[in-house]
């Protein structure tokens, strides 16, 4: 799949923003006043910034409001609703903390639930696609949730929780790569089943339908950079997990905490690039590609 910057930025920052909102929502001793303002500002900047970035890949963003209508069948629609709901509830909850020094806990719990729902629905947009066998697997929602909660914990300064969740996220990512590399083959979809000609003999793409490129090849058959996958996976593990975990273990101050956060974000951006660039869409088979 084409690793569009807009979707990489969206999934990375929204995940972190909603993760932070989750921890703010369930915090029994939530910060108030200025401290709360800073936390909420960071969370909203990331969550809303990510959502705005996601509209950049829309052909007609001016019609985006219509995307809230099909929650009965569409995970993308559900995600939109969950995100707006969470942002509204958490705005009220945040206003209580920042301006009135009051903690309206039930609102926070509701918002935390909404944040989880948002991250889960985002992950399901990818997981539901049978056409991308690598994503059509339990590791996709598990990874999105673990990264969001782990990153949120890191941002909110929860050392032990962040430590555990980042370890979990790293394990899930390794599992996702391990299973992912054989998913296309295991899906049973091949050029033989795509053409139905496998019964006659070995099928080979002889001539594509056109001399130039097309939307399908640009969007679904991204092979550039796949050859660096192994190095990028190591960089991902290092930046997203190893560095922040080491810092958390060695003890944090303001400077190292910032370093941990920056490293984690860079790592997750890398991870998401791989998430898209390495995902094989079955339509590539028709072109003799993957």
């Amino acid at each position: 799949m084409h690793p569009a910057p807009s979707v990489i930025i969206f999934t990375t920052f929204s995940g972190l923003g909603f993760g932070l909102l989750f921890w703010l929502g369930i915090d029994a001793t939530a910060p108030t006043g200025w401290v709360a303002f800073v936390f909420f500002a960071i969370a909203y900047l990331m969550a809303v910034g990510g959502l705005v970035a996601s509209t950049f890949h829309l052909g007609h963003p001016e019609r985006a409001i219509k995307a809230f209508s099909q929650w009965r069948s569409s995970w993308l629609s559900r995600e939109g609703i969950a995100a707006v709901f969470t942002l509204l509830i958490m705005a009220l909850y945040g206003a209580g903390l920042v301006f009135f020094g009051a903690q309206w806990s039930p609102l926070g719990w509701l918002g935390a639930l909404g944040a989880l729902a948002t991250v889960f629905t985002t992950s399901m947009i990818y997981t539901q696609l049978k056409t991308v066998p690598r994503w059509h697997h339990w590791t996709t929602p598990a990874l999105f949730l673990a990264l969001s909660l782990g990153g949120g914990a890191l941002l909110s300064g929860r050392v032990t929780v962040a430590l555990v969740l980042l370890l979990v996220a790293a394990a899930v990512q390794i599992a996702a790569w391990y299973f992912g590399d054989t998913r296309l083959k295991a899906s049973g979809t091949s050029l033989a089943s795509a053409t139905g000609l496998g019964g006659i003999g070995e099928v080979r793409a002889f001539e594509p339908p056109h001399t130039g490129t097309n939307y399908l090849l640009k969007e679904f058959v991204h092979v550039v950079g796949r050859k660096h996958a192994t190095q990028l996976r190591l960089i991902t593990l290092l930046l997203a997990f190893a560095v922040p975990i080491a810092i958390l273990l060695l003890g944090v101050n303001h400077i190292t905490a910032l370093l941990a956060v920056v490293s984690h974000i860079a790592g997750v951006l890398c991870l998401r690039w791989l998430f898209f660039a390495q995902a094989e869409h079955v339509v590539g088979l028709y072109y003799g590609k993957r």
């Binding site: 052909g59 985006a64 995307a67 099909q70 569409s74 795509a194 019964g199 070995e202 339509v283």
Partner: protein, 253 residues
């Protein structure tokens, strides 16, 4: 509504004959021609007159080489357009309701006024049947020529999809695949029509007819035995010639 109808009154679709398709791309051209002037936004081209040309097409013809274990390879031309799936994943993923499947005839369409161009439906289609138009930024797909098949302004023989009407080899057939007595259903039953990627669970309405087995040429010429090729273990003049030529520098042994 992007939930799918539980059943449709008809299942209109195409039957594509891989035995007779000659790979002429006439259906590709007629499809682009009709659909760029009719239903919805036109089908744009980018850099049409440069080396990097690309454009939106609703129907494309691939070519595959199939190599049987013990026979000569076969070249098979393979036209592909939307298969108007019964369990169309492209419809259920659409967040806006722009994509829908019609209850009356099962045709899968996009209401372009509602489409936000998110592209998710194209991600969900395993067949590459949907393309986001680079100029209009809305999703384009085969309409089964919905503006021809019911169009009483057209002469009756033209009330079929442009690709079907154009095909010089008669490789594309249009009809109701939900009616077991229809011509297309009969054809599918007779020729062993099959689904593309059945494991994806999309239940395509369109069916493909397999190439017929290649004939084996029977020996029919009574003179053939007298025209046997010259023996390889040549004797007499031929044998002498063979040896003489081989003896020359660079001659084949």
């Amino acid at each position: 509504m992007t939930t799918l109808p539980t059943s449709t009154d008809k299942k209109l679709g195409l039957v594509i004959d891989l035995d007779t398709c000659v790979g002429c791309h006439a259906c590709v051209v007629s499809c682009k021609g009709w659909n760029t002037e009719n239903y919805g936004a036109p089908l744009s081209d980018q850099n049409a007159y440069s080396g990097a040309a690309s454009g939106t097409f609703l129907n494309r013809v691939h070519s595959y080489e199939v190599q049987p274990a013990d026979k000569a390879a076969q070249l098979i031309h393979f036209p592909k357009s939307c298969l108007h799936c019964e369990d169309a994943p492209c419809v259920t993923v659409c967040p806006t309701g722009a994509s829908y499947k019609r209850v009356e005839d099962g045709i899968v369409l996009v209401n372009e006024k509602d489409c936000i161009g998110c592209g998710l439906c194209a991600w969900a289609c395993p067949y590459g049947a949907r393309e986001l138009d680079a100029e209009e930024k809305v999703m384009k797909k085969c309409t089964l020529c919905v503006d021809r098949i019911y169009n009483t302004n057209l002469p009756e023989e033209d009330r079929q999809p442009a690709c079907v009407r154009t095909c010089p080899a008669g490789a594309r057939h249009f009809g109701d695949l939900g009616d077991p007595d229809s011509d297309v259903s009969q054809l599918v039953a007779e020729r062993g029509g099959f689904d593309l990627m059945p494991e994806q669970g999309t239940k395509p309405v369109n069916k493909y007819l397999p190439p017929r087995p290649k004939d084996v040429e029977p020996e029919f010429d009574i003179l053939a035995p007298y025209l046997e090729p010259i023996a390889t273990d040549g004797k007499g003049f031929v044998g002498w010639l063979d040896k003489a030529l081989s003896a020359l520098p660079g001659g084949a042994k």
